[in-house]
């Protein structure tokens, strides 16, 4: 449905994103994971064609959706896709709704715009969608203002807006970051159900490995603006081959077993201005050798997954 190949993005002279590839089909959930600043949100923006708004441009690769290359699509045609066939759920539900408008009209507008429904039809559809998102008393909620609702509820409204025009692809950019843990689980489950019920292709952007483990079919691990490992979720979790993926998995808290302490990864993500040469992860990598600082690693394929590491062949012998 949606396939991104070797995507590169530049803002002026800096190149925060390069060589990102992934694809997602109907009824499938793809997880994009990585720490803050690894280029996850930028990838979402590129797919939505929003880069020109913030002064960025696509320098290479392609974003193919339903047989057409979106990187060459004019803005006017892009508008029909946005919200119509590709929905985006943004990070912060608290500020994603117009504070001066009631919920109903805000959701109605999407169906009016993309499906050409009139007022009453759009409202009926809105209430219907709110119902499927397990929002109690949709007709009452439609008359509320955003500030009268909780964060979890607002996130559901944002999801409702993304779904209102029945898109084929849904991109959820850290949809649970701003929410309580209990609500997080509900929202994730909701998204998971939507994929099954509506045969959606979901791209779930997150830094939470446990969420990925629960919901995704495939994952892409990103680091410093590059994809470092990708493959089916079971393979990646069972046999992570990139040291960064291994470290991320090692960081998942494992309950109240007092023998284990929480682990972290030493150091911080490099910023766009000081991306290391060679393998971007080498300054923090436990198994880095001289070659890592000079030569960028190629993807080494094993089964359905691939890892960009010079030592990917031996890496899974002893997971970190």
């Amino acid at each position: 449905m949606l396939s991104v190949r070797d995507l590169g993005v530049a803002f002026g002279m800096v190149q925060p994103l390069s060589g990102v590839s992934f694809s997602v089909n109907k009824g499938e959930t793809l997880g994009i994971v990585g720490e803050s600043g690894s280029g996850k949100s930028l990838t979402a923006m590129s797919v939505m064609g929003l880069l020109p708004l913030s002064g960025g441009r696509i320098t290479g690769g392609s974003v193919e959706f339903d047989g057409q290359d979106l990187t060459k699509l004019p803005e006017r045609a892009y508008r029909k896709l946005r919200g119509g066939r590709i929905g985006l759920i943004t990070q912060n539900p608290m500020t994603s709704l117009d504070p001066l408008q009631k919920i109903g009209p805000q959701v109605d507008d999407v169906a009016k715009l993309h499906l050409g429904l009139d007022g009453a039809e759009a409202r009926a559809r809105t209430e219907d969608i709110l119902g499927t998102l397990r929002i109690p008393e949709p007709s009452l909620i439609c008359e509320r203002y955003p500030h009268q609702m909780s964060g979890g509820m607002k996130q559901r409204i944002v999801i409702a807006m993304a779904l209102a025009a029945d898109p084929d692809v849904l991109i959820a950019d850290e949809p649970t970051t701003a929410l309580d843990v209990t609500v997080q689980a509900q929202i994730i489950r909701l998204l998971d159900d939507l994929v099954k019920e509506r045969d959606l292709a979901l791209v779930l952007i997150t830094h939470d490995m446990s969420v990925v483990a629960q919901t995704c079919d495939k994952i892409v691990v990103m680091y410093a603006g590059r994809a470092v490992e990708h493959g089916p979720v079971e393979e990646i979790f069972d046999r992570p081959r990139h040291p960064y993926t291994q470290a991320l998995i090692a960081c998942i808290p494992r309950g109240l077993d007092d023998a284990t302490r929480l682990t972290g990864i030493e150091g911080t993500v490099p910023t766009v201005l000081n991306y290391p040469k060679g393998c971007p992860f080498h300054p923090r990598c436990p198994r880095a050798e001289a070659i890592c600082a000079t030569d960028p690693p190629e993807f080494s394929v094993a089964g359905d997954s691939a890892a960009a590491c010079h030592f990917a062949e031996v890496a899974n012998a002893q997971p970190a």
Partner: protein, 293 residues
């Protein structure tokens, strides 16, 4: 057509709710009540005024307040009360018309400049800032030189004098709002620029502009009076509070009522407009509004 009706509808609903709530507080009720009364007086001036504003009676010039001339008469023996009542027409209509023109033009220019940015924004803002560098009186003089003295010049002079304020304010609001997440979210949903601008940006940008507009009406009344005072505004015998005060200066010590009563009218009206404007600020905050309801 569709776009403009959309804009009017949102503006209308917005104004109705806020003005209603501004009226419901104590100060707001007194100030708003006075303004409503003033508008009624201006509209029904011919029914209320005891005399014709232009009727001269030189035999009875500079008569002190008493009966039948409750507020006395001026140097031509014209009834001061009648002239103050008719003067409300001039002051309110000139100021309100001028501010309405100024607001409409300023909001359009400011919103377009803020939304589209780039060269267009710089061009608009440079021109608008230029108007700010001229004193109001000078702008009025330019108009007087072009179209001659009178209320039309006054109206345009006031409109131009406040244009920069509305343009800058609207532009600043739009530039700030443009980066808000909910605007990004609207773009993500595929909205057209006209939809984003009229349905999301403008309503959210409007609150402070409306308040400044209300306060500017007060200033506009003063400016109209000033221009009238210098003889650049309303021409005789049309009564305007400023022009009345101007003619009254000649007999300031002989018949102070000629200058005092229009002065008091200006003062009370401006105070009422400002107080009401303050209440409006409070009532325009939607969160506050719903908490009260």
């Amino acid at each position: 057509m569709k776009v403009s009706s959309m804009a009017i509808r949102s503006l209308d609903a917005f104004a109705r709710m806020s003005i209603g709530r501004a009226l419901s507080s104590g100060i707001g009720m007194v100030a708003g009540g006075f303004l409503i009364l003033l508008v009624l007086v201006a509209v029904f001036a011919p029914l209320i005024a005891p005399f014709d504003y232009a009727d001269q009676n030189l035999m009875n010039a500079n008569a002190a307040p008493g009966w039948p001339h409750v507020l006395g008469t001026d140097e031509f023996g014209r009834d001061v009360l009648s002239r103050v009542i008719y003067g409300a027409r001039t002051s309110l209509s000139v100021s309100a018309t001028a501010i309405a023109i100024s607001m409409a033009a300023g909001m359009t220019l400011g919103a377009a400049a803020g939304y589209f940015g780039g060269f267009f924004e710089r061009a608009v803002m440079t021109v608008v800032d230029l108007t700010w560098s001229f004193p109001d009186i000078l702008i009025a003089l330019i108009f007087v030189a072009i179209i001659g003295p009178g209320l039309t010049s006054t109206t345009f002079a006031i409109a131009i004098a406040y244009l920069a304020q509305f343009t800058r304010l609207t532009r600043a609001q739009i530039v700030r709002l443009k980066r808000e997440t909910f605007i990004e979210a609207t773009i993500n949903l595929g909205a057209k620029p006209s939809h984003i601008l009229l349905k999301h940006l403008m309503p959210n940008a409007m609150a402070p502009v409306i308040v400044v507009g209300m306060l500017a009406i007060g200033d506009g009344i003063v400016l109209e009076a000033t221009l009238g005072f210098f003889g650049l505004g309303a021409q005789p015998p049309t009564p305007s509070w400023g022009a009345m005060m101007s003619s009254g200066t000649a007999q300031l010590f002989l018949s102070p009522w000629v200058i005092i009563f229009p002065g008091v009218a200006v003062a009370i009206t401006v105070i009422a407009v400002n107080l009401f404007g303050d209440e409006l600020i409070r009532s325009l905050d939607i969160r506050d509004r719903l908490r009260g309801a």
